[in-house]
Symmetry: C2
Subunit: 190 residues, 2 copies
């Protein structure tokens, strides 16, 4: 069985797009990696903590998937906004610039662990304060790293990306597909 160690409805949606059968079992304890890590290592370490929290609840044949996403701009790391004011400040910071989205992932099956991260660059067009306020008022920014959802009303904020789109939604579909296939083959061939 595949187990998604995340409560994110967007990650579940991507796994469904991929045609995967899976159970959802969010990690209960959120442990934070060292803030000294770079954003890529930070997210893969955080993803590993989530997967490690959930893995003991399942058997050695099951594969547990953890993921963590952050937004980085000018050396600043943006997680989920604390409130509407925080969301406004984040979107103001992203307006008219290119930022980086890192999603770290971890796969655990029995004694095997695979971790990694993917980077996607996202460019915002210039946003007026009125537009930002209108977007914040939709409530969409509140549960999302960087205060926007590329797969929602936020689609009109983004002029272009470079990298995996699904990585911005929170789950690097192509990379995880490849890693899951490799993991499956290692167990089948063993």
């Amino acid at each position: 069985m595949l187990v998604l160690a995340s409560a994110s409805p967007r990650r579940a949606e991507i796994m469904r797009l991929m045609g995967l059968d899976f159970a959802v079992c969010p990690a209960s304890a959120e442990k934070n990696p060292s803030p000294e890590l770079g954003p890529g290592e930070y997210t893969s370490e955080s993803a590993l903590y989530k997967a490690m929290d959930v893995a003991p609840r399942f058997g050695p044949e099951d594969t547990v998937i953890g993921a963590d996403t952050v937004v980085e701009i000018g050396g600043l790391i943006l997680g989920k906004p604390a409130g509407a004011g925080d969301a406004f400040r984040m979107l103001k910071l992203l307006s008219g610039r290119t930022h980086r989205v890192y999603t770290g992932f971890a796969l655990i099956r029995g004694s095997e662990t695979v971790t990694g991260h993917e980077l996607t660059e996202v460019s915002f067009r210039d946003l007026s304060d009125a537009e930002i306020r209108e977007y914040v008022a939709t409530g969409e920014p509140m549960d999302k790293a960087g205060a926007y959802g590329i797969q929602g009303r936020g689609c009109v904020l983004v002029s272009g990306i470079a990298g995996d789109y699904f990585n911005v939604m929170g789950f690097p579909a192509c990379r995880i597909h490849t890693e899951l296939e490799a993991l499956r083959r290692r167990f089948t061939d063993a």
Copy 2:
């Protein structure tokens, strides 16, 4: 009123994501632009034909939106596959390479017409023949330019893109949002 002159469920889905209220009224006559045009001009001309076919059915206050998408690789233009064999050949051609997706659009409101196109580069990972056959068997390639859907099972074929993701789905959300706002302002200020 906004009118989408396209039967594509993906274009309607993106307009809903954008939070737009609209009616769907597909063009009935498909007129093809001159094959001598480059892919960008070809798609915007084709989008204009669709919008022009539908516009006379609506009033001068309504805005009709047409769109057309093609895939280009090595000078070859790929539309929708004619059957499973054709889909296999297209996907084999795209495997391990970067191709270009052009979506042309046309907006008509009263005597005003706006046309344009957006280009997104899409990179496929290496696909085995077995994988391609498996994907073709899902039926997903059949109604899609280039024989894949990036927003479906096809998400695991694409290692990365450069440009607007929604342009690959068939509707350049950010650009159309900007053009619609500019058109609305021209009418409000007039």
